[in-house]
């Protein structure tokens, strides 16, 4: 018998209790890991380093309201503006309504300039871009989306519109890669397809994506554009890309505070449950602890053994919880990643794994130390008198 065997056997003295506490630890760590990863994912939506000089101009009343495409000319006239791209969420699906992914009608001539950092990793050539621009019924798709549907360049993709009464048949001209998996779950086609196919969209667009020449120009540009269209029939709301993305996250409410609140509640609850379980388990062993000490185990050694039991217990629970969270993250990516692009990046990051494991071990030490310390300070003679 070795020390680890002794610790393990002690831990398994009440299998049902051990399994229940491990189960509650697994669920708690799983919950915390998933929630914290969700928070990280949501934060990453608003923390895109490539977006520092990109702006979004949309209708002040909301995303469902359109802006005149003629605004594009005014935007281009601003000395701080490098380029402008009209972009409209199309909201179509491929074959099955459940097969949903991000698809946009966008200005094919400026799209690659606006998002050049994202497209830059693809190694796309000028010839490929020209191919796409030349083909009015062409489209470009992200690599993840193409792989998922088994698409290749030249394939025809029929889209069924859900927002607009239009079912375009698009030919894939280019498959692009992106640093973020979420950006690869997208399809872009020519804006003209939407304008020509949907009469009421003629001359209108949902948003303009603007690339400023320098990040420091952005505040001035925002102020000028919105002032220019103030009190017009189509008032604008101009904001940075990060602020625009944050608006989507904010639709979910103050999700950060909610997640942190739930995390704290879960941690406190599991600390109480683990502490109570360990206290009960140690109290039941009062006589046994006294016998160990009578045989020559020092108080420090008994304390170390009890702490090791607590740490092993939460270590197993924490490990299984993190493992389960990783499996769940894979499920979330594949099931929600297409419909909600930021979920395509959802993962339990190493930092979260480390924080969860350290947190679990901290709970184990904290929950075990107080009852274990009290038990090892109790006089041996008193422990031997207890009925254990």
């Amino acid at each position: 018998m070795r020390w680890l065997a002794l610790i393990w056997k002690s831990l398994m003295r009440s299998k049902r209790r051990t399994l229940l506490i491990v189960g509650s630890l697994v669920l708690s760590v799983f919950t915390v890991a998933v929630l914290q990863s969700l928070l990280t994912t949501l934060n990453s939506v608003t923390d895109n380093p490539n977006s520092s000089n990109r702006l979004v101009v949309r209708h002040k009343s909301g995303l469902t309201q359109m802006l005149p495409r003629s605004y594009e000319a005014y935007l281009r006239q601003q000395s701080e503006v490098e380029t402008v791209c009209a972009l409209q969420w199309f909201g179509g699906y491929y074959q099955d309504p459940r097969n949903f992914f991000a698809n946009f009608a966008s200005d094919e001539t400026t799209l690659f300039q606006i998002f050049r950092e994202e497209f830059g990793v693809s190694g796309i050539t000028e010839a490929q871009i020209k191919d796409y621009i030349r083909d009015g019924a062409g489209c470009i798709v992200g690599e993840s989306l193409a792989k998922k549907n088994g698409w290749k360049v030249g394939d025809v993709v029929p889209l069924t519109g859900t927002i607009f009464p239009l079912n375009p048949r698009l030919t894939i001209r280019l498959i692009f890669k992106s640093p973020k998996p979420s950006d690869e779950n997208a399809l872009h086609f020519h804006y003209k397809v939407l304008e020509e196919g949907v009469p009421y969209m003629k001359g209108l667009v949902g948003s303009f994506w603007v690339r400023a020449r320098r990040p420091e120009d952005i505040p001035r540009l925002i102020e000028r554009v919105d002032r220019h269209y103030a009190n017009s029939a189509y008032e604008t709301l101009t904001e940075t890309e990060n602020a625009f993305n944050l608006a989507f996250v904010k639709m979910l409410g103050n999700i950060g505070a909610i997640i942190q609140g739930i995390t704290i509640a879960v941690v406190i609850a599991i600390l109480i449950v683990t502490g109570n379980t360990m206290a009960t388990a140690i109290r039941e062993r009062t006589t046994e602890i006294a016998v160990f000490r009578a045989m020559g185990f020092s108080a420090g050694r008994v304390l170390a053994l009890l702490l090791a039991e607590g740490v092993l217990l939460v270590g197993v629970g924490g490990f299984l919880g993190v493992l389960l969270a990783n499996l769940a993250a894979g499920g979330v990516r594949s099931s929600l990643g297409a419909a909600m692009p930021f979920f395509a990046d959802f993962a339990i990051l190493p930092d979260t794994v480390l924080a969860c494991m350290l947190g679990a071990l901290g709970i184990g030490v904290l929950a075990t130390f107080i009852p274990a310390y009290a038990a090892t300070r109790r006089p041996i003679t008193e422990g031997l008198r207890s009925i254990g």
Binding site: W3, V291, A294
Partner: protein
């Protein structure tokens, strides 16, 4: 049976108590349990500590075994002045010099007989093989080698106490302390356990100090020491 006040025979003392006292405190109230205990117990003795409830016999046993400390006087046991040892030193001293036999056996329920006997050896610098040899020797001595993989719940009371005795002697201690070792056993098993303890004393030369209420159990000892209200009353040599 002859009566000779505190004459426990000759020989080098293994236990020497000088004016030992022990009191407990209930808030401000001092409750004396032992007072003015002077006693020398020679190595190889087999002592039964007897007396009515509350006479202080278990307290005296605990002091001799180093699991409690006196409030006055000094104890020298197995060559060590116990008052000079700190708690960790005292724990090491107990591991090396004292074997414990309890009324309720106090085996660890999640360990089998072999592992229970091996437990005190984990504190010693021994190889796995050395530990196995010692455990098997101890279990063979109590005639339980065939039950070594059984857990305490799979053993009878008598077998459990024999495992506890094997655990007590596996470190080859000089001193065995037993607190009512037959208190939870039927007559047959009690007789077996007492016979075993007698052999440990006569064959292996272990010094045994046993607390008992049972005159039959006390009759197995070589001497009986009677306590009365916390003081030594008399010592009696047992004629067997």
């Amino acid at each position: 049976m002859t009566s000779d006040r505190f004459d426990l025979g000759g020989g080098e003392p293994i236990i020497t108590l000088r004016d030992v006292a022990k009191s407990y405190w209930r808030e401000a109230l001092e409750i004396p349990v032992l007072q003015g205990i002077d006693l020398e117990i020679p190595a190889g003795s087999y002592i039964a500590l007897m007396g009515p409830s509350g006479s202080g016999k278990t307290t005296l046993l605990n002091l001799i075994a180093g699991i409690d400390r006196p409030t006055g006087g000094s104890l020298e046991v197995c060559g060590y002045e116990l008052n000079d040892l700190d708690d960790d030193q005292l724990a090491s001293w107990r591991n090396a010099h004292v074997g414990f036999i309890f009324q309720n056996y106090n085996l660890v329920p999640v360990l089998n007989a072999y592992e229970n006997v091996e437990l005190p050896l984990l504190l010693m610098k021994l190889s796995r093989r050395e530990r196995r040899e010692k455990v098997e020797e101890a279990l063979a001595m109590v005639d339980l080698m065939d039950r070594r993989w059984n857990y305490p719940r799979q053993l009878s009371g008598g077998q459990e106490q024999r495992v506890a005795i094997a655990r007590a002697v596996v470190t080859d201690p000089d001193l065995l302390v037993a607190d009512e070792p037959t208190g939870a056993l039927d007559a047959k098993n009690a007789e077996d356990v007492l016979g075993l303890m007698e052999r440990l004393n006569s064959d292996l030369g272990k010094t045994i100090v046993m607390v008992t209420h049972d005159p039959k159990a006390a009759h197995h000892a070589r001497h009986q020491i009677h306590l009365e209200k916390g003081v030594l009353d008399k010592a009696v040599e047992v004629n067997r």
